[in-house]
């Protein structure tokens, strides 16, 4: 029975990874950049919700809403100020390093405002834990909400991208910027929108992550950020279903290795699985295989 509990916990953690990985993968697909500051947007989302709910004392739902808005605006501002000027830079590494700079910036602003001590985050979920199979399986409210909201967001996102004009424009821009512009698509606007959606997802992921693991520091986002990055690559970076599958698998692998092998080795095992997957399938599980033309 503990197997099922671990599986559900793994899926729950994986759902958070999937939400973060979606942001990574969408930004990568459209701007061809690894946004290293994405993990810190999670932290900003967590702290915003903490401020609204615990410090000011407003209802949790409002906290979630405000943190989504703050992160969305933050995502757009970061893109406009730090990344857009470097879009045509001669080396793709330039924007990567700038993203690292933004990541340091966000961490240190949070450090100045909230200090280095861990804050205990009050869960935004007040749902009773569900007990199944005569009390052998207990699923916490946070777990249920995390999994359900991740599935809903995933479905909405797929519908948005495949069924709406704006979503199609995003696909077009990620395929070929120049051609998309010739078709009358507002490329800059579409890229901003991608950052906005990615950051909004990061805010939700941040709130859910902090509800499940209620300790909040300025560095909270960095390890989940890296894990989600791994998840995005695992599923094939640039692919939205890939990020979802990669995130869930990564969460399950992590919880299982913590439970059955060694809690200290869990991170090493997660990374080892990634390496094996990439060696067998060099573009990730669902990644497109691009042949280089001479």
């Amino acid at each position: 029975m503990s197997f099922i509990t671990y599986l559900i916990n793994g899926i729950s953690l994986g759902s958070v990874y999937a939400l973060i990985a979606l942001g990574y993968t969408m930004v990568y697909g459209i701007a061809k950049m690894l946004n290293f500051a994405h993990g810190d947007v999670i932290m900003v989302g967590g702290f915003t919700c903490y401020t609204i709910c615990s410090t000011i004392g407003l209802p949790p739902l409002l906290g979630v809403l405000v943190s989504v808005i703050v992160c969305t605006v933050l995502g757009i501002v970061i893109e406009k100020i730090a990344y857009k000027p470097l879009r045509r830079a001669s080396s793709p590494l330039a924007v990567l390093i700038t993203a690292i700079g933004v990541s340091y910036l966000l961490q240190n602003v949070a450090l100045l405002i909230f200090g280095a001590n861990a804050k205990s985050f009050t869960s935004v979920v007040n749902l009773q834990a569900v007990t199944l199979a005569d009390g052998q399986i207990v699923i916490s409210g946070e777990t249920i909400v995390t999994i359900v909201s991740c599935v809903i967001i995933m479905v909405l996102l797929m519908l948005f991208i495949n069924k709406t004009k704006v979503g199609q424009a995003m696909l077009a821009v990620s395929e070929d910027k120049g051609a998309a512009q010739l078709m009358g698509i507002n490329v800059n606007g579409t890229i901003s929108l991608t950052f906005a959606i990615g950051s909004a997802l990061a805010a939700i992921a941040g709130v859910l992550l902090c509800s499940a693991y209620p300790s909040l520091t300025p560095y909270t986002g960095s390890m989940p950020g890296i894990k989600a990055f791994v998840a995005a690559v695992f599923g094939g970076i640039g692919s939205i279903p890939g990020a979802f599958i990669g995130g869930i698998l990564l969460g399950v692998i992590q919880i299982f290795s913590q439970a059955y092998i060694s809690s200290q080795m869990a991170d090493a095992i997660v990374f080892a699985v990634l390496i094996i997957v990439l060696l067998v399938k060099p573009t990730g599980l669902l990644g497109k295989n691009i042949q280089e033309k001479v």
């Binding site: 890296i226 791994v230 060696l279």
Partner: protein
């Protein structure tokens, strides 16, 4: 004197001048103890930046696991030195450090080859993430590694120090997350500078050799390089493993400067790898001198800011990093800089022309 030779002499000369300058400051006592403590780390970071530039700038592959190789060099050499200190106490410190250096560099280089063989098949960002993964795995394994030697032989465990079944806990050499304590302090600033100059000579010579040109041709166009008969995999591995071995050298220097060596995210995690990458990109990819200078400036910057604005120093560091990247790389800024220098030049020419007329 050829242009490259002159440039190389300038690079090595800069290190030499900086070394003499630092020695004068130490002799006159006008340097704080904090800054004194930074001298060896400065050499470590400069060596790391130069060695990573070989992978990123010359070979053109993004590596995010450079700290992992440093970690291997640091731990293998610290392990060796501590064993020697325990079992061969009369070995002279210089010989011990030299052997530790050879072991650290060789082992890091070997891991470079082992990791490079599968990893270098991948491209671009995938290669970056796999090197990141390897770096994290190395750090993670060292954190759970327990090793001790006593009369009964070698004890080894991946669980805890109690599982070693050793009577004397003093003889535990690698103690998991507590790392290695009591490494002899064999390195100093002079050794650091000598190692940095050696690294520079190795890397600069490699770049300007036939092999170096082959490596750069792979960076510029892999398919074209392959079609003129350059063995791509061999040269990629060569650059990658040399870069790893030099990172190992930096690790040896680092380990022998501290009495306690632990593998924390701060010193051997991906944060460190990224910091080295920042040095390389900010100093200029492929520009050895630039990456060295960037390493020195960016290491000193937070410490210099400490005196001025202690609370905001890392914040200011982050802002300076972003602004410098935008200034250096944004196409609009490059254009603006070109225009500005052109107008200054034109003005100077006008002045000199006016003088000639007079």
């Amino acid at each position: 004197m050829s242009k490259t030779l002159r440039s190389n002499i300038i690079t090595v000369g800069l290190v030499f001048i900086a070394y003499i300058g630092a020695q004068i400051l130490i002799a006159t006592g006008s340097i704080s103890s904090l800054m004194k403590g930074l001298l060896v780390p400065l050499c470590v970071y400069a060596i790391l930046a130069v060695s990573l530039n070989l992978t990123v700038g010359i070979l053109g592959e993004l590596s995010l696991g450079h700290a992992g190789f440093m970690c291997i060099g640091a731990f293998s050499s610290a392990f060796f030195s501590k064993c020697m200190k325990m079992f061969v106490p009369d070995m002279p410190g210089a010989l011990r450090f030299f052997l530790a250096l050879v072991i650290g560099a060789a082992l890091a280089g070997l891991f470079g080859i082992l990791i490079g063989i599968p990893v270098l098949r991948l491209k671009g960002d995938y290669l970056a993430i796999v090197t990141l993964a390897f770096g994290e795995i190395i750090k993670n394994i060292i954190n759970i590694l327990y090793l001790g030697i006593d009369e009964e032989g070698v004890h080894f465990s991946l669980k805890s120090s109690l599982d070693l079944n050793m009577a004397d806990s003093e003889k535990i050499i690698i103690n998991g997350a507590m790392g290695i304590t009591g490494t002899p302090n064999d390195s100093n600033f002079t050794i650091g500078v000598v190692l940095l100059i050696l690294t520079l000579i190795i890397v600069l010579n490699l770049i300007h050799s036939r092999d170096g040109r082959a490596i750069m041709s792979i960076r510029d166009n892999t398919i074209a390089a392959e079609s003129v008969g350059i063995p791509v995999t061999r040269y990629k591995l060569m650059a990658f493993s040399i870069s790893a071995a030099l990172a190992g050298v930096a690790g040896v220097l680092y380990a022998h400067n501290l009495s306690t060596l632990t593998a924390l995210p701060k010193n051997f995690g991906y944060n460190m790898s990224i910091m080295i990458l920042v040095f390389v990109v900010l100093g200029g990819m492929g520009n050895i001198r630039g990456s060295m200078i960037a390493a020195v400036i960016l290491t000193l910057l937070p410490e210099l800011l400490r005196g001025v604005v202690s609370d905001y120093r890392m914040l200011i560091y982050a802002i300076i990093l972003i602004v410098m990247m935008l200034f250096n790389w944004a196409p609009k800024c490059i254009e603006w800089r070109k225009k500005a220098t052109a107008s200054v030049k034109a003005r100077l020419q006008k002045k000199s022309a006016a003088k000639e007329v007079e």
